[in-house]
Amino acid sequence: MTNSHVPRERGSVWQADVASIIILVVFVVLVYAIEQFMQPDFTSTGLLITGIILAIIPAIIWLAFFYRRDRLEPEPKHMVFRLFLLGGLLAAAIGVPLVDNVFDVPSWLGSSSLVTQILAGWLIVGCIQETLIYSAVRFTVYDTAEFDEETDGVVYATAAGIGYATVLNILFVVNSGGVALGNGAIRIVITTIAHAAFAGVIGYFLGRQKFEERPAWWMPAGLLVASLINSVFFYLRGTLSSGSMSASGGASNPWFGLILAVILTGAVTYALSTAIHNNVVEAQQEQGGSA
């Protein structure tokens, strides 16, 4: 570890993550309840506009919580927002065209074997998405003074990941001509918190790389880990949802996907906060020993 930097714990960041996950689940339950009990009737334009608003709300919730909670050392809000926008732009300009058009993934992934689905999800979908999130942070804020904590990697990468997810959600709504409120909200929240978790992993690796002496393979390894989590998550989500379809004989059950996404995000948040906590303790012991 370099002597010039001693990492600090940033409990507010993790609290903001956990709080936003809880609020997003509450948001889904509310939307579902509104659909079940009020059964609103939309025109096609109304359905589309409502869907787009639903697609944006998770990002607003996350950003709002982050802004309120990050008091200890607030990141420059404009920089977090820029990363959010950049994540979205990279999704629209590169990520989605590569996955959907160049590799035409939607036309063959779902009907492929387990091994093919995992490999393609890892090497094509995951790698494209996580490389773009990495690039969004690495080639902008990484070399600036505003990236001054290991946890900043997680904060900025998560902002980019949520921007990426927001564009995926908006495109999903627009391409579907609108969405059913309840199921649409579940899918939107799953996409948002899952991409936030994958990006968090990228950010963790970026943060440690910046402030510690890490081997050259450190960041590629981080990218592979995040891409693999991405692939396995979306495979399991698809399997659980369709499994519930055959078990009940009715429509697919997206709640399984939501539960899986909450578990994934909770696990990633816990793992990253624990890893950074251990790193802080280690650094403080080293500093105490040298003093």
Partner: protein, 189 residues
Amino acid sequence: MSSAILTQKDRQERLSVLLVLGMAALSLILGTFIRSSAQNQTRPFTTSGVSAEIPTGWLTQDGTADLIFVARNSQSLDQLYRVNLLDGGDLDTIVNRHGIYRQIIEESYRTVEQTPIIASGREGIKVTYAFIDDEDESMPTVIEGVAYYFPEGDQILVISYEADVAEFEEGFENFQAFRSSVTVDGGGS
């Protein structure tokens, strides 16, 4: 000393970026092979004495009368393979009659080209055609098709492929593999 450490760190950062970008490029190259392999995966399918290799993930439906089965791409329902066994007779006459029959079903059906061919050592007739699919009135699509007619004992085996005109070429190579895989009990295409 400090600047030397920084330089080493900079070099390491640069190497890390190169490794990440190289790994991403390698992943995409591997991805093209995975895609190609996934699109070429097939499964055996047999019905009414006709066997074929169907692309994995395609849906199959047994037919009635002379239609043996239809296989449809579950991700792009306009893309389908169809296998018929028609009552035998003069090949040209059967092909013309089948074309008229299709035109009765699909008003917009038009034969584009009809040519004698030799495929897998067997003589037959290849017909290319097109029609408009207006099931979705707000967005009618042009369907392109090709049908191969082969004498099969005292019957005529018809193997056809239809797809949205924009997807036709892309799926034609896989159709050729499917066509070669079709066998009839006691015969082959």
